[in-house]
């Protein structure tokens, strides 16, 4: 109706191209249309009524990242399947947490669901802002358990999105941190991927040649609960740190000092000056320009360093798991963007939201946004083991460099656990305090010990309440 009364340039282009295409390739279009129909069959084999919330409109907040862009591009399929309109709102990662919290506290129900940081579920659950998803999973009218196959989703991510054993957010896309290094530089020096943190420092020293514009290594330097406090927890745990020593949240002490000292040392000696303000995209950019010997960050950054338009190091990249710490452990991150259901929604909207979540997290949609995706950027963070075992997906990902799939899978299965960071409702405050402490040590505003002791002093009253 709207497009008839107000023909915009876009709709004009759309209809005219469609018409032209139809005249030229009529039969092909028809075949394609049939293929589209059949393609809904994969969903329609589920024994639920997909159209039970027909006519509803829901708003979904996501971050502007390719793994969500791919999902957004399939929105028409979802609409055809369920009759539900989905409006996507793209919010940068730094703001999406605040915007969601503000929406949830004020109970405006603006977002039916939003891409959620797993560290926030304790907070959401404590305030009863979101629904337990088990209810929806166990409702036979809403979920076909055999079809959806919830157990296929990685247990680590399901665990990360659960509080007291109850699921609050459905994992959609996730990542683990791994070592990324330049095999050509390493080979030239006769070194291998680091097996221990000590080796990692030595490797960085070996390839460090700032006069030739190659720096040894870099880690995230910019302050933020999801930035430097996304890398430091692995070091802390590898040095033998425990967040809850004797039931009390402890962020200082000898293990913490050793871990932070290692971080500061590596960054000051072998990272570019500017890295103290870098987040992962900056690190990946520097690496793809050939100025970094190695970095430890999310496996999903592989798609950036393999971007044929920007990267100068394609074919020279290899991967390895985190180096072991003095405790003998390798500790990777635990991370996924999940979808919770806003508790302030009406019953019907909740159903619509659940159908959307079920659709997005299903094996079929995961495959269609990854190796079966038509566009140039494929996902590397599919949420299911079955997808990761799909030969096509493995082939796609191994194009990113040596050992990519094996390393990511091993890291995901054996190097991480849900207590990687302290999972408490106070996390936003704790994460920010730690991030500030780490940065103040890195910049020399404080000594390592003073920074951590100060953080401990600030965190104690937060936990006491």
């Amino acid at each position: 109706m709207k497009s008839f009364s107000k023909p915009t340039r876009r709709t004009f282009l759309k209809t005219s191209t469609a018409a032209a295409a139809f005249i030229g390739f009529g039969p092909a279009i028809l075949r394609h249309a049939r293929a589209q129909d059949a393609s809904l069959g994969a969903y329609q084999s589920a024994k639920i009524n997909w159209r039970q919330a027909e006519g509803e409109t829901i708003t979904v907040a996501v971050i502007p990242a390719s793994y969500f862009e791919n999902l957004i591009s399939l929105e028409a399929q979802f609409k055809a399947l369920t009759g539900i309109d989905v409006r996507f709102e793209k919010v940068p990662p730094a703001q999406i947490r605040q915007k969601s919290v503000i929406d949830l506290t004020s109970k405006t129900a603006t977002y039916a669901t939003s891409a959620t940081d797993p560290m926030y579920y304790s907070l959401y659950a404590a305030n009863k802002w979101v629904d337990q998803l088990d209810t929806y999973l166990n409702d036979a009218s809403l979920t076909d358990k055999n079809w959806f196959n919830y157990e296929d989703i990685f247990p680590a991510w399901r665990g990360a999105n659960s509080v007291d054993g109850k699921l609050y957010g459905m994992p959609y896309d996730g990542e683990v941190t791994i070592q990324v290094y330049r095999k050509d530089l390493y080979e030239a020096k006769g070194i291998k991927a680091a097996d221990t943190l000590e080796d990692y420092m030595k490797n960085a020293a070996a390839v460090h040649a700032p006069d030739n514009r190659v720096w040894g290594a870099a880690l995230r330097g910019v302050a933020g609960a999801g930035q430097n406090m996304y890398i430091y927890p692995s070091l802390f745990r590898e040095f033998g740190g425990e967040w809850f020593k004797g039931g009390k949240l402890t962020v200082n002490g000898p293990e913490a000092e050793a871990a932070l000292a290692y971080y500061v040392d590596l960054m000051r000696k072998y990272a570019p000056n500017a890295a103290s303000n870098w987040n992962w995209p900056d690190i990946a950019d520097a690496f793809s320009q050939g100025t970094l010997g190695s970095y430890i960050d999310a496996h999903s950054s592989a798609s950036v360093v393999n971007n044929p338009e920007k990267s100068k190091v394609i074919g020279k990249i290899a991967y390895a798991r985190w180096p072991k710490g003095p405790s003998g452990k390798r500790v990777s991150s635990i991370w996924n963007w999940g979808f919770p259901i806003n508790a302030a929604l009406s019953e019907k909207k909740k159903k619509a939201t659940w159908l959307f979540i079920q659709w997005a997290a299903s094996a079929e949609t995961q495959a269609r946004t990854a190796h079966k995706f038509a566009g140039p950027t494929k996902r590397s963070g599919a949420n299911r083991e079955s997808v990761w075992k799909d030969a096509e997906y493995v082939k796609l990902l191994n194009g990113f460099g040596d050992n990519f799939v094996q390393v990511s899978m091993e890291a995901l299965q054996s190097d991480t656990d849900v207590d990687w960071r302290p999972r408490v409702p106070q996390w936003p405050a704790i994460g920010d305090t730690m991030a500030t402490a780490i940065q103040s040590a890195l910049s020399g505003q404080n000594t390592v010990k003073a920074a951590l002791d100060d953080a401990q002093k600030r965190i104690e009253p937060m936990m006491r309440g």
């Binding site: 605040q98 919290v101 506290t105 907070l123 404590a126 305030n127 330097g221 910019v222 302050a223 609960a225 570019p272 000056n273 500017a274 103290s276 303000n277 408490v424 409702p425 106070q426 996390w427 936003p428 405050a429 920010d432 305090t433 500030t436 402490a437 940065q439 103040s440 040590a441 890195l442 910049s443 020399g444 505003q445 404080n446 920074a451 600030r458 937060m462 309440g465």
Partner: protein
Amino acid sequence: MLAGENTMTAGPAEIASSDFGRVLVQRERRFATLLLAPAFFALLLTTTFPLLFLVYTSVYRINLSMPFMNGFVGLENYKVLLADDRFWHSLIVSLVYTISTVLLQIVIGLALALFVMNMKRGQGWFRIIAILPVVLSPAVVGMIWRTFMLAPEFGIVDYLAITAGLGSKNWLGDPSLAMVSVIVIHTWQWTPFAFMVLLASLASLPEDIYEAARIDRASAWQRFRRITLPLLRPAIVMVIIMRTMVALTAFAAIFTVTGGGPGTATEILNLYAYRKSFTELSIGYGSALAVALLIVTIIISAILFAIRRSK
């Protein structure tokens, strides 16, 4: 009878006329109130009410991460505030930031104004170019400086530093350099304001006093000290007051350039209140910090206004 009739007719008319005047005035007043009401209510709703609400929330414990503990706590938040190192630190950062930026703006702005006053040609162009930073949004200015000017190796400032033999500096990663950087950025953006105001008042100074001074063989420095400065005093004080209030409540540029970092090196009070409220989700305590900032701003402005009136 006739006279009576006259008085009868004149009487009510007289009464009516004075009454009419009163009614008119009353009506006028009512109409004026009616006209004023929407704006007044809008103002009440958008400024006064939030302000009172801020004070109200500051005596409550409102912590989103521990909702079960929320409740009235009286002056507890303020007690905690007075013992909070980071509050005092951020207050000092705020004061250093304010004093240095305002001083720099006045000195540079005045120098520029004196220079431009003597320009024979191109004054108009200079004024237009000078005003450009002021019309930019502080957030945009922050982004420009962060990426274009201060980025190590690629930024213009760093390039100049390397060329000058100072070597590449980590402008935003070093605590004291970061402080210098945010002060420079604020000064860069707002000096044109001081410059424009001072230029306007310089232009309005009476020429005859200067002529008399020249006849008395007063030196340029004497003329500046004894004539220009005293005559410009009201304008300078006004600029100081306005710039101080803005500098105390600055936010966007620092937020985008350093986010208060590295560590807490550039964390002004405003930023600390924001982080407490919206990142740490401790709304009650965050409100107390905002009220503290309000009190500081009021006290400083009161002092400045008193100085303005004193002479």
